[in-house]
Amino acid sequence: MFADLPLLSLLIWLPILGGFWVLAVGRNDNSASVARAVALLVSIVTFVLSLPLFFAFDSSTAAMQFSEKLAWIPNFHIYYSLGVDGFSMPLIVLTSFMTILVILAGWEVIQYKVAQYMAAFLIMEGLMIGVFAALDAILFYVLWEAMLVPMFIIIGIWGGQRRVYATIKFFLYTFLGSVFMLIALLYLYSVSNSFDILAYHKQALPMNVQVWIFFAFLVAFAVKVPMWPVHTWLPDAHVEAPTGGSVILAAIMLKLGAYGFLRFSLPITPDASHALEGFMITLSLIAVVYIGFVALVQQDMKKLIAYSSISHMGFVTLGFFTTYMITAHSNPASAAMAVEGGMVQMVSHGFISGALFLCVGVLYDRMHSRQIGDYGGVANTMPRFAIFAVFFGMANSGLPGTSGFVGEFLVILSSFKANFWIAFLAATTLILGAAYTLWMVKRVIFGKIANDHVKELTDIGARETLILTILAVTVLAFGIYPAPLLDVMHTTVQHLLEHISHTKVL
């Protein structure tokens, strides 16, 4: 029954049109409650519509599924072309899932321009799903850039004190990155006479060209992930963004960069990726270790979680770029674990970092401070909240039984096959991750009541409990039984590994 519906188009356009609907019904804040209700409805319907992607997904094929193709600008061979495989499908479901929670999280907290706030998230949801589903380079590029606008607005309007600096930094960084990507895409058009991303995969390219294209993509994607040393926009953006903005930024937007490596860099420039694997692995390990140390000394909770995000995303890129080394030492199939570990890490990080930002949001709404030093002994006044904070802290430390463990475990196990020292450095996250997360938990949650503000805190209400419970159950479910998530990507990963094992240099 789903095969007949243009499901991906619905998932893109329903939230976008829904966003405009919200704007229409909530022109001023007197009708805020209507705006909220409509926004929630739209986000839930979108999520429900995204479920068939998962359940009707054919995991036995690496071909694109739920495909749609319409001519857009035929003169330049530009198509409105959509489709999903085992990489993009889980990320689309993640996007629609997190959007519901973000709408709920802003329910009472946002009192200023409510409709615009909700609409911005819905529109961004549609655009992000579009990026994951796009199979046409120009469509991808347009959505990739368009997605920045709502985020820019969200930080710029509902953000904190230094929001202007943060938004400009965020915008320039990411915009500069994507300009290089555009050049690479135009070059690829000039040689293949097509904007079909899958056609690029098959396009033979000489080595020096591959290297140029690799770097052009790298700038765009590394900024988004973000990888060291182009990461400094992220802590600033997180600190200034409202809670919902941080959640989407961490849970979805960072994944776009990593997704770009899978969709563009590796398959289009496999030889350059191979040649530059050492460089990429080094950057990934710097993210894990260097950023882990930096996270340790942060005084601002949001900054700490932002740095923790960068460190965790290091595992994603590490998993993707150790594939060649593993294949060199062992049979090609054993590299699948590295890529799958990276993918699982992306999904899991979406839940956990989202949850942690929501936890900080809960505290910020009550005390209007993000400084660790302003807290202490929160468990005394907010016992229910403390359970969630400790739980997500443990998940962020990669405790087995939570989803945070799965990806790191697979990446460490497989990177050992590449090289002992890579695994050694990656495994330091066991210590560093626990140190920065649990030290923060100790200083904020445990101890005696630190001051009168903490004494007056009220525990989380039903809405907050609901949001955090949903996330906690999800994190636990994927930690205890991650097999379904991996099953949908096996074939796609195999296909990618098979594809990149052949040289494109003629």
């Binding site: 930094k169 960084y173 040393p229 400094t232 926009w233 260097y290 140390f293 930096v294 996270a295 340790l296 000394v297 942060q298 062992s330 199939a333 054993s334 699948a336 674990m337 799958e340 570990g341 002994g377 468990a379 005394n380 400790v390 443990m394 405790l399 087995p400 039984g401 463990f405 799965v406 475990f409 697979l410 460490i412 196990l413 497989s414 050992f416 096959k417 002992f420 020292w421 695994a423 050694f424 495994a427 330091t428 066991l430 210590i431 626990a434 140190a435 649990l438 100790k442 949650i445 445990f446 101890g447 005696k448 009541i449 205890i480 039984y481 991650p482 097999a483 991996l486 099953d487 096996h490």
Partner: protein, 648 residues
């Protein structure tokens, strides 16, 4: 049988969930958790019968966690004689601790939470020992660590408690760091994480070498076993990763008994015994294990002598005894290590719960210098405490006697085989016997005998705690007395561990033909030094703390340097605090302030913005708006282009 095993692990888990998450009353909380663990215990006994007497070992997958690169990561149970023994010990001690907790935590506002945690612990520990693969082992490993973290920090308003729990978790993570790399190595070379598949594959890789540093060839098995053992060093608190265990005493006493004495801390010993087919293949790794264990056994024992907190004395004694178990592993006497693990679980749980009983009676006073003469007020605690102490020092006939003697015998055997480090280990474990007796009976005499040094108010209220507290003491005193005599023959000389624990024939110190019965072993022992060392330790303690109490003080004055080294615990804590904690913060601060803020943001990001600004300032001067300037520039440009064109 799979349903029985599932019920064994799930019953405590369900109890924990009900007690923890549903806001139930105190009565419901302790009833469901005690029922859950009770079911687990009774079913474990049934399993024991099935496996040991029926010979029905079990090894099956419950479900597939995930599949990646063709490798199946599974959750499954392997139940053999080693497993059932651990299951019975864990569930029995846990059950007793549950009952005891009703009395000990009676007035605590976190009553339900506490029951929930200890039941959750029981679940995690059972998952650990019942696993048939490294993945689930690691799950259980980390899960018991989590509950330990939660329980050490149970009184979360106490700064020392929340410091101690973070420390415990992080130090354990250092061990897990090595452990995980060891697991990765197992997977890489055997392509499986399933115990039996790994063991079956090990013959093919035992002669391989690995190159970790350039131009060095190390034996694969040595590297693998040492990495795995680093995990055991964290969990079983071996030097230098022992530092978390004394601080863990900040938690309530029942969990000190259950987690930090009887069960969780022995997980490392259990793991190495389980991996005996791997460890047997590397003499170097075994020597490493042996030396680490010997250092722990001896030097942690010394620290027990200078402690004045009743729980810390017992804690250092636990460290030292864990050292004994590790020594046994290093001497290839895995069975003796496991045997000592079992006897120790009973008598150390007994000693901790006894200490808790004293603490309740003393209104939460833990300083043994403020006690004395408690014998007549707490008769049950006194007699059970005496049994526990005699078992600990290895008094002939008591449980600890058999297991400790076996370890010393095994080290002696290893020494004869010429295993590196065994000479040192032999003298360490021998001297350890004297030290153990000295600190144990120092505490025993100071607490139960001599002058009553508590204040009048406390003395007035002194009485034996209620039956929920004394019943577990009695129940634990029975095995502390008897289990050694019952179990030594089947476990060490019989075939209890046949096909479970693998020992090279030459390495084995225990052969059936050397077994002369329990009475023979006791009478023989008087011809060997350990018993006399233990008795002289008791005698010295008696003289120093009851006959001539002024003498210890003057010894302390005379040897103040030694005393201060011991009081400072050899400086491990100060060093770690300064080097690791301080160092990490320093590195972090440097990378952040210099790397991120100055270099990346200052020079690269804001610097390039600045550069654009400067370029714009200059370019502004070029754009003068005067037509002849532009015309001139065009001519110059044209000339240059033509020039280039002509020259090329």
């Amino acid at each position: 049988m799979q349903n029985v095993y599932l019920a064994i692990v799930l019953a405590p888990l369900i109890g924990a969930i009900i007690a923890g998450l549903f806001g139930v009353s105190r009565r419901v909380a302790h009833t469901v958790t005690i029922a859950g663990v009770g079911i687990a215990f009774l079913l474990s006994l049934f399993a024991f019968k099935e496996v040991v007497f029926g010979g029905h070992t079990f090894n099956q997958t419950v479900y597939t966690w995930l599949v990646s690169s063709g490798i199946r990561f599974e959750i499954g149970f392997m139940v053999d004689s080693l497993t059932v023994m651990m299951m019975v010990v864990v569930t029995f001690v846990s059950w007793m601790v549950h009952i005891y907790t009703i009395g000990y935590m009676h007035d605590d506002p976190g009553y339900q939470r506490f029951f929930s945690y200890i039941s959750l612990f029981t679940f995690a520990m059972l998952m650990l020992v019942m696993s048939n693969n490294f993945l689930q082992l690691f799950f259980g490993w980390e899960a018991v660590g989590l509950v330990s973290y939660l329980l050490i920090g149970f009184w979360f308003t106490k700064d020392t408690a929340v410091y101690a729990n973070l420390k415990a978790f992080l130090v354990n993570r250092v061990g897990d760091f090595g452990f995980l790399l060891g697991i990765a190595m197992v997977l890489m070379y055997t392509n499986s994480l399933n115990y039996n598949e790994v063991f079956a594959h090990v013959d093919k890789i035992k002669d391989m070498t690995v190159q970790i540093l350039p131009n060095t060839e190390w034996s694969l098995m040595t590297v693998m076993c040492i990495l795995l053992f680093i995990g055991a060093m964290g969990k079983s608190a071996q030097v230098p990763l022992h530092v978390w265990l004394p601080d863990s005493m900040e938690g309530p006493t029942p969990i000190s008994a259950l987690i930090h004495a009887a069960t969780m801390v022995t997980a490392g010993i259990f793991m190495v015994a389980r991996m005996s087919p791997l460890f047997e293949l590397s003499e170097t790794a075994l020597s490493f294990v042996l030396v680490i264990g010997a250092i722990t056994a001896l030097f942690m024992g010394f620290l027990g002598i200078v402690q004045n907190d009743i729980k810390r004395v017992v804690a250092y004694s636990t460290l030292s005894q864990l050292g004994y178990m590790t020594v046994a592993l290093g001497a290839s006497a895995y069975t003796a290590g496991i045997f000592h693990l079992m006897t120790h679980a009973f008598f150390k749980a007994l000693l901790f719960l006894g200490a808790g009983s004293v603490i309740i009676a003393m209104h939460h006073e833990q300083d043994i210098r403020k006690m004395g003469g408690l014998r007549k007020y707490l008769p049950i605690t006194y007699w059970t405490g005496l049994i526990g102490s005699l078992a600990l020092i290895g008094f002939p006939g008591f449980a600890g006697f058999f297991s400790k003697d076996a370890i010393i015998e095994a080290v002696h055997h290893a020494h004869e085989l010429g295993r590196a480090g065994s000479g040192f280990a032999y003298y360490a474990v021998l001297s350890g016997v004297f030290i153990t007796a000295l600190y144990s009976f120092r505490m025993f005499f100071l607490v139960f005998h001599g002058k009553e040094r508590m204040d009048e108010h406390t003395k007035h209220h002194l009485h034996e705690p209620p039956a929920v507290v004394t019943f577990p003491l009695i129940m634990l005193a029975i095995p502390s007395l008897l289990i050694g005599a019952v179990a030594i023959e089947p476990m060490l000389f019989g075939d209890f561990f046949k096909n479970v624990i693998f020992i090279e024939h030459a390495h084995n110190a225990f052969h059936a033909e050397h077994w002369h019965g329990i009475v023979g072993m006791i009478t023989d022992s008087f011809a060997h030094p350990p018993v006399w060392l233990a008795l002289s330790g008791v005698a010295v303690a008696y003289y120093l703390y009851l006959i001539n109490p002024a003498l210890p003080e003057s010894i302390k004055q005379r040897f103040s340097a030694v005393h201060s080294i011991l009081v400072n615990k050899y400086g491990f804590d100060q060093f770690n605090e300064w080097f690791f904690a301080g160092g990490a913060r320093g590195v972090g601060g440097l990378l952040w302030k210099v790397g991120d803020v100055k270099v990346i943001d200052g020079v690269m990001v804001n610097g390039s913005a600045q550069a654009v600004h400067w370029v714009a300032l200059i370019m502004r001067h070029v754009q003068t708006g005067l037509l002849y300037h532009y015309a001139f520039a065009m001519i110059i440009g044209l000339a240059l282009l033509l020039g280039v064109f002509v020259i090329l």
